[in-house]
Amino acid sequence: MIQSKKSIDELKEISKNTRRLILETLAEAKSGHPGGSLSAVELLVALYYVVMRHDPKNPQWLGRDRFILSKGHAAPLLYSVLAQQGYFPIDQLKTLRKINSMLQGHPDTKKTPGVEMCAGSEGVGLSVAIGEALAGKMDKKDYRLYVMMGDGEMEEGQIWEAAMCASKYRLDNITAIVDRNGIQQDGLTEQIMPIEPLSAKWKAFNWNVIEVDGYDFEQILRAFEKAKQIRNKPTVIIAHTTKGKGVEFMEWSPEYHGKVPDKKTVESIVKQLK
């Protein structure tokens, strides 16, 4: 099933609602990772509402495009989008991180419909996507792989093992996305472990590289469309984003990588979301 296309205004409205769900879900859970969930909202909304071919009623559909959240700690973002899409009831969001929940602290394929990979250990998702992309080519299927990684995640050696491998096999059915929000857990990425020049690195590994403003839907959608057209090369979209986007005191704050505001604070933040 191909999702009906949305206007950019509608996508913006959905993004706002997604931010609200992320914050409320995290406040209820009392722990988790707000910063890297809020930074990538528009990218995921674009994927699930416009770019990807998928069917919430049939999560196991073999022809579906697959989204792998390699930075698994952004689970609240993935869950908020999947719930709005109808993969499971929105009510379930309240159970995040609680015992016996279908929504684990980090994504769990066996417990949650729509989740494509057990992630949480950074650095692994792109390699798994390569496997699925190779299988897709073997089976003459035209499904595509989308993989979201953190910029801190670029520090894992396995990312670059995968980068070499995907270009060796000319996997034009992979679109990787780097959420370039500039912050990891201990602090600023360029202080903990400089990863620049990032775009040149991916180019040197023979990838097609597109840089976008991670909050500009026109740029985001154009980039995904371009990636679909490129032949014989995987594409990486480096999305320039802001950790904690949308909540003033969380923006650019390493503290809110893994700290959750209480319910009262969230109630007042949610009213101010744009």
Binding site: A29, K98, S101, D108, A119, G120, S121, G123, Q185, M193
Partner: protein, 330 residues
Amino acid sequence: MLSVDEMGHILEKPKMSSMRDAYGETLARLGEEIKELVVVGADTTGSIKTSIFGEKFPERFFNVGIAEQNLVSVAAGLAMAGKVAFASTYAVFAPGKCVDQMRNAIAYPEVNMKLVASHAGISVGPDGASHQELEDLATMRAIPNMKVVVPSDPTSTARLVEILARTRGPFYMRIARPNCPIIYTPEQATKNINLGKVTVLREGSDASILACGLLVYEALLAAKKLASEDSLSVAVYDMHTIKPLDADAVVKTAKATGAVVTAEEHNIMGGLGGAVAEVLSERYPVMMRRVGTMDTFGESGEQAELMVKYGLTANNIANRVLELRGANQR
């Protein structure tokens, strides 16, 4: 042995603090005395508290980013060049992601490197199974030359970190994330916690509970309950050194009680329970029960809920003791 009286008070209203604070503070203290001490981190230094050392000795502190294989290998290199190298991140990632490096670059050449991994076990809580390391004792124990230690509280953490820093060779130490009861005073820890020797917390004649990590406290509670409700005299040993295991002490208590229960925040396969079973099956077979996770992954939840759901409690340990005594009488 610490007398039961000496221990009694801690079972009523224990003081709580965390092993990772003890770890970071001990490193910072040792850094003054041991000039060769260096510490390597992997983007989790704030959470594991090695940042305390980093602030004091920035020139001896390295953050390699989210790169665990690099983390332990860089520490290996530092050690090979004469440093006393500590490396730390969450247990699920190191040793989880770097068993090869721990084997070939560290244990095989017997490098003076210490991997201290935090957030081990199911007590990590809401992060869920992906972050709950339950296999590290098995993987690290099976590597030749690698010594493996598991402190049971913040004070024994401090004591064992000091022992690691002053003992040459490769070590793996695992600590837990949450605040936990303080079992030992610093003096008790210095006197009673020694590498390769069990620490006897209670002697007993009816059964032996051999525990490590957070389960030591649960074992003490279990023994107390069994004493008051079932009039059983149950030994409790803190098995902080998983390798080299104090085999003689294990055999001795098995001979004295004929019933051995192990307890650990780890898969029942390959950890403390496995190590004890190996020794007893060869030297003095007795019936055993192993308390641990039952070859299953954990899940998200609060620490206390998970400990109950996965059977890592004083109650479960006590029930296992009773079950074993029942089986022995049949």
